[in-house]
Amino acid sequence: MMTELSDMSLDENTIWRALESVTDPEIPVVSVVEMGIVRAVNVESDAVHVTITPTFAGCPALHVMRAEIAETIRNLGVDDVTVETTLHPPWSSDWITDEARAKLKAFGLAPPPRHQGNIPITFYEAVACPYCDSKNTIVKNTFGPTLCRAIYTCENCRQPFEQFKPI
């Protein structure tokens, strides 16, 4: 049954909560909210306007996320939904929440270190293995199966793993 919008007292917090169910299809354990992909939610009378930002410019998952965000809000009974993309400020892996970092680790993806915008060109930081926490790891490839991942091997537990790149 479709509820009248006014009866639902649809506010921005309701939308934010609903968007917690939308995940990045390439990392299905974290939501677009926890990833810092959703930048703003505005409710104006019966219209909802969401602003998102891409993690990587060429990320093919962005279009899927945009469609799912719109669909999720429409399912709340809102017909007038717009999802807009912004590039400013550019997405930073520093925006990934602590809860999401724990989920990434449990998923086998080493979370990115917080860098405050300072990513050196030649220095590779020690990355802890998400399985055994050892920092005795080696980078196998700074590029991986998706734009946002690098490939490592743990010398301690011999487990290959991926890291979400700091960006």
Binding site: T51, P54, F56, A57, G58, C59, P60, L62, H63, R66, V83, E84, T85, T86, L87, H88, P89, P90, W91, S92, I119, I121, T122, K140, N141, T142, F143, G144, P145, L147, I151, K165, I167
Partner: protein
């Protein structure tokens, strides 16, 4: 190609008509460079010497294609040009990329060195464009710059490794450098009326970029065991971006073949 629905680019409407034309030309050049290099990178997919590099070059292709989309989208906001039409239905001689990026991939040394030379140019360019007085340009550049750091990190490591590696790897790198070096001058050749954009601090002066690039690239190549060819004399200024090598038309034919086989198809 799926375009991001970028927030309407503020500031574009305030441009003078002559500036608009100069900017449209510049954006097309920037976008075409990215697109053509992305296509060359994608040709390594399934053919790179090791699996890691197969993956790396597929990533580079995807990144550069993402960057091309950003520039084409900005161009669309400026003058309404449809990016899909520009990419899939334009004739090869209407592309405005530099000849450096259209050259066939050659051997691995050639491809990695080309990528290094271009990445380094791009990093200096994007650093300067990040402080463009035109906000939409500065926003796009700032976004791309973070990703390009990874490219330069990767190619820097490879140039060093191959330049200082075996006799064979150094021989191939030197041959690649000798072949590529004359093509780099075109990266810094100003477009027609680009001065209008430089005066308005929308884009950096090409001479400034060229100096920064050379100060970075030349010492590094020497440290990597390579000898840098002599500079091209100023009187041998490169032809414009409307002049291409024989290799571009074959590339474009392949790039457009699927779209042209059914122009009305929806994807």
């Amino acid at each position: 190609m799926i375009q991001p629905d970028i927030t309407a680019a503020a500031g574009l409407e305030a441009l003078e008509p002559a500036q608009r034309r100069a900017l449209a030309q510049k954006l097309l050049a920037l976008a075409d460079d990215e697109l053509i290099l992305a296509h060359r990178n994608s040709e390594w997919c399934g053919h790179a010497p090791i699996l890691e590099e197969d993956i790396a070059f597929a990533n580079l292709a995807q990144d550069e294609l993402g960057h091309a989309v950003l520039w084409y989208t900005l161009l669309q906001q400026l003058d309404g040009e449809d990016p899909d039409h520009l990419v899939y239905f334009r004739r090869a001689n209407a592309f405005r990329n530099v000849r450096l990026v259209e050259l066939p991939n050659g051997d691995w040394a050639f491809s990695i060195l080309r990528q290094y030379l271009f990445d380094c140019y791009e990093l200096y360019l994007l650093q300067a464009l990040s402080s463009s007085t035109l906000e939409p340009v500065s926003h796009v550049a700032a976004k791309m710059r973070r990703e390009e750091l990874y490219h330069l990190r990767h190619t820097t490591a490879w140039v060093q490794r191959l330049g200082l590696g075996t006799d064979e790897s150094r021989r191939r790198m030197q041959a690649a450098l000798n072949a590529l070096w004359p093509y780099t001058a075109q990266l810094f050749a100003p477009l027609q009326d680009e001065g209008l954009l430089v005066d308005a601090a929308i884009v950096p002066a090409p001479t400034m970029l060229s100096e920064g690039w050379k100060d970075h690239v030349i010492p590094f190549l020497i440290e990597s065991g390579l000898s840098v060819p002599a500079d091209i004399a100023p009187e041998a200024a490169p032809d414009g971006r409307d002049v291409h090598t024989e290799h571009l038309s074959a590339l474009i034919e392949e790039l457009q073949s699927v779209a042209r086989s059914d122009p009305d198809a929806s994807w």
